[in-house]
Symmetry: C3
């Protein structure tokens, strides 16, 4: 530290230098404004309020407090305060949800020149419908937790799963988002599952239809496409892709809303890194798909399919 070069003063800059650069800022801003003024699919100026990502995270957190009561609330929940705390959280959720849903609908309505979509009315309606569905969503999630515990030797308790398993978190967010997707709400369902994707590495499209007792273990790299159907009691591991076959050019328009992803029947296990592709591919009930298996065709119920390990060279 005795080195002169390390004297801080040699590294500080005076007012003069600052001014020299600062005075160039207006020119830079003008250039950016010009660029933003062009007709562009990445500017969003002069429309109504847009769905805020920040609110969405708060909505997901509050939904989690209601779905798993007592686990994630800041205050302790007991039989005395349960009804007050839950009641208040549900009321706040109603406000936030109806606002956010309404914004999502209005946004699409204005952005893409649709007919008036009664966004205000539909926001309230959908928020209420989602809250009203929470008991049945809880019932399904309880089967998910139980199934995770049954099959995982590393799980020490149900609570450990609820507190820490990314698979359960991704499934929880998916089950909420799927409900909104079914109601035809734009933008919000996908933003919710992509938020969970960011946290967990598990990418479940809200359009997928997934039965109870669903388990994703470890999970990083899992992709479940929009038109996937999954039965009851299915367990999948990290890196599993349930995807579409390779797409023709400009597939975007041609295939929108077609069944492009596989169907997985009840009681199937799919080990890590397996890839199952195509809208006509059906994995029959009770099948086991081994690690790294690559399937683009259906297999009948009760099939056990494993990859012959690639030849190894030992040197």
């Amino acid at each position: 530290m005795k080195d002169d070069r390390k004297d801080q003063h040699t590294c500080r800059v005076g007012e003069e230098l600052t001014a020299k650069y600062r005075k160039k800022l207006p020119g830079v801003v003008d250039k950016i404004l010009d660029n933003c003024g062009k007709d562009s699919c990445i500017s969003h100026v002069d429309y109504d309020p847009i769905p805020s990502t920040e609110n969405l995270e708060e909505i997901i957190d509050k939904l989690r407090e209601v779905v798993f009561p007592g686990y994630f609330s800041k205050e302790r929940l007991d039989p005395v305060n349960l009804s007050f705390v839950l009641g208040r959280t549900v009321t706040v959720l109603f406000e936030m949800l109806s606002q956010q849903i309404s914004n999502s609908i209005r946004h699409d309505c204005m952005r893409y020149d649709q007919e008036c979509s009664d966004c205000g009315d539909r926001g309230f309606e959908a928020a209420l419908a989602l809250l009203d569905a929470l008991p049945e969503i809880r019932d399904v999630l309880e089967t998910d937790v139980q199934a995770a515990f049954d099959g995982d030797p590393a799980a020490q308790s149900h609570d450990e799963i609820i507190f820490s398993y990314p698979g359960l978190y991704a499934i929880f967010v998916y089950r909420i988002a799927h409900k909104l997707y079914e109601m035809g709400i734009p933008l919000m369902p996908r933003t919710m599952t992509e938020y969970a994707h960011g946290l967990t590495g598990i990418d479940i499209h809200p359009g997928a239809a997934i039965g109870g007792r669903f388990v994703i273990d470890h999970g990083t790299g899992v992709v479940i496409g929009e038109t996937t159907e999954i039965g009851e009691n299915v367990r999948i591991y990290q890196g599993v892709t349930l995807g579409a076959l390779s797409l023709p050019k400009n597939a975007g328009e041609a295939l929108r809303n077609k069944k492009r992803h596989p169907t997985i029947e009840d009681d199937v296990i799919i080990y890590s890194g397996a890839t199952i592709l195509g809208g006509e591919t059906v994995i029959g009930k009770g099948s086991v798909v081994g690690g790294n298996v690559w399937l683009t065709e259906s297999i009948p119920p009760g099939t056990r399919v494993i990859m012959e390990p690639p030849t190894l060279s030992y040197r």
Copy 2:
């Protein structure tokens, strides 16, 4: 914006509509309360304070400030204030850790009807033991940083690794969590490594035993199971799984606490996407496991095993 449909008033809702929906809320809340009142593994009402995930993140941040002094603190550290800043951080950590550990123990004790577990006493004891172990944890982490630098042509400096490498972050959190796991603390170790998993895509179970000079490069999709053993100077890449063989039904109960994951001896390199499975699989000292290799059997020391690339069709 001249379009009448886009007049905001058509999209606003009056008091009347709001009231129509709001008055249905009490019914929805009652339905949720009923559902939460059922005996269920996903409700957590009427227990003592539970381990808070939020505190855990703060604990990890503060531990990082102590382990890598000067890198992540908000204020500048120099020889004059080092002892004050570190001393204060350690004191705060002691409070937070003993509280959190105590909550984790008490939670399990009450939830699963165990004997009184002296949670208060053990919380202090374990917090102190962890803090006391920080110097040796730092010593090991220093070897990890050095090894990362030695083997990565893209690393410009040791500091770049500490500031930005997700592999190092996951290893840091693992080394802390493993210490708590060794002390038999429930919930908290796994919650810590799953937090790091969320941030990095690297899933290291706190039960794994891992030697010094350990490097994970890129890291997304790495899974290291609970009973894995890894020697000194091992380097692994993204997408590597050190896992269990496929499990029999209800494996959860049958295999809890058995050795299910492989042993990796010193000086081994495992390239991206390789999968090594099974509790009896041993990768001998100095071996190199190539990308995408799939191994369920041991290999002797000094083996170099690569996958014969799958046959390709060119069209």
Copy 3:
């Protein structure tokens, strides 16, 4: 809850016990201080201010507000306030960026005993150059959004892509970081792309050179190495690695700054899990690389290469 063990008082600890443990803290702190005092690559005491990770996240957020105006701002943007809001954000960004860049340069300069690097001056200069480049970065990002929409049947709108697609987020952060990398700024570019890596599971080194209309779908597990070159209109899927061949010992020093990663020409599609390695590997224009393909050699333009699926055993 009637069980006596569950009486909270049995689980509380008195002042005496607290004191017993607390008085051991100074000894623990001294031990840590001793350890931090050693000459070590993981201590950072007595240097100038270091680049703060927290500021970096705010910088990225504000850059996103400028690049995608109206999408992520807290307030609504319309033609009336656009110039005020953008102008203010750009001014704040100039301050934050020049400070952060200056810190990054000064840090390296002092840490590694280099000549005085005019960090103050260069901080202003680079901040201004980055802001001045935003219009052209926006132009390229617009092609990225358009290409994502063209090829993805699950995308409902351009806005859905901007709001929620992790691939676009990673590409946005990469395009900013790459600009700083080209200007020779240390630390900061990598810290930025690793931040995006944490959020998206997509690891793009800021040194890679990537053309317009670039799409990453799903994205978890993607790795794009430092010296990768990618042309126009390339689309890649989750789990794709564009990496280096296996490295000799102490590769860190030997290979720093050499071309180690592949070249991908225009109009190439690379499906999920494919691995392409080596600095001399060129994927010719218009080629399609199938899922899980493993390539360490060049393929000529227009080649369609798919993996012969591994042999499966059905039982």
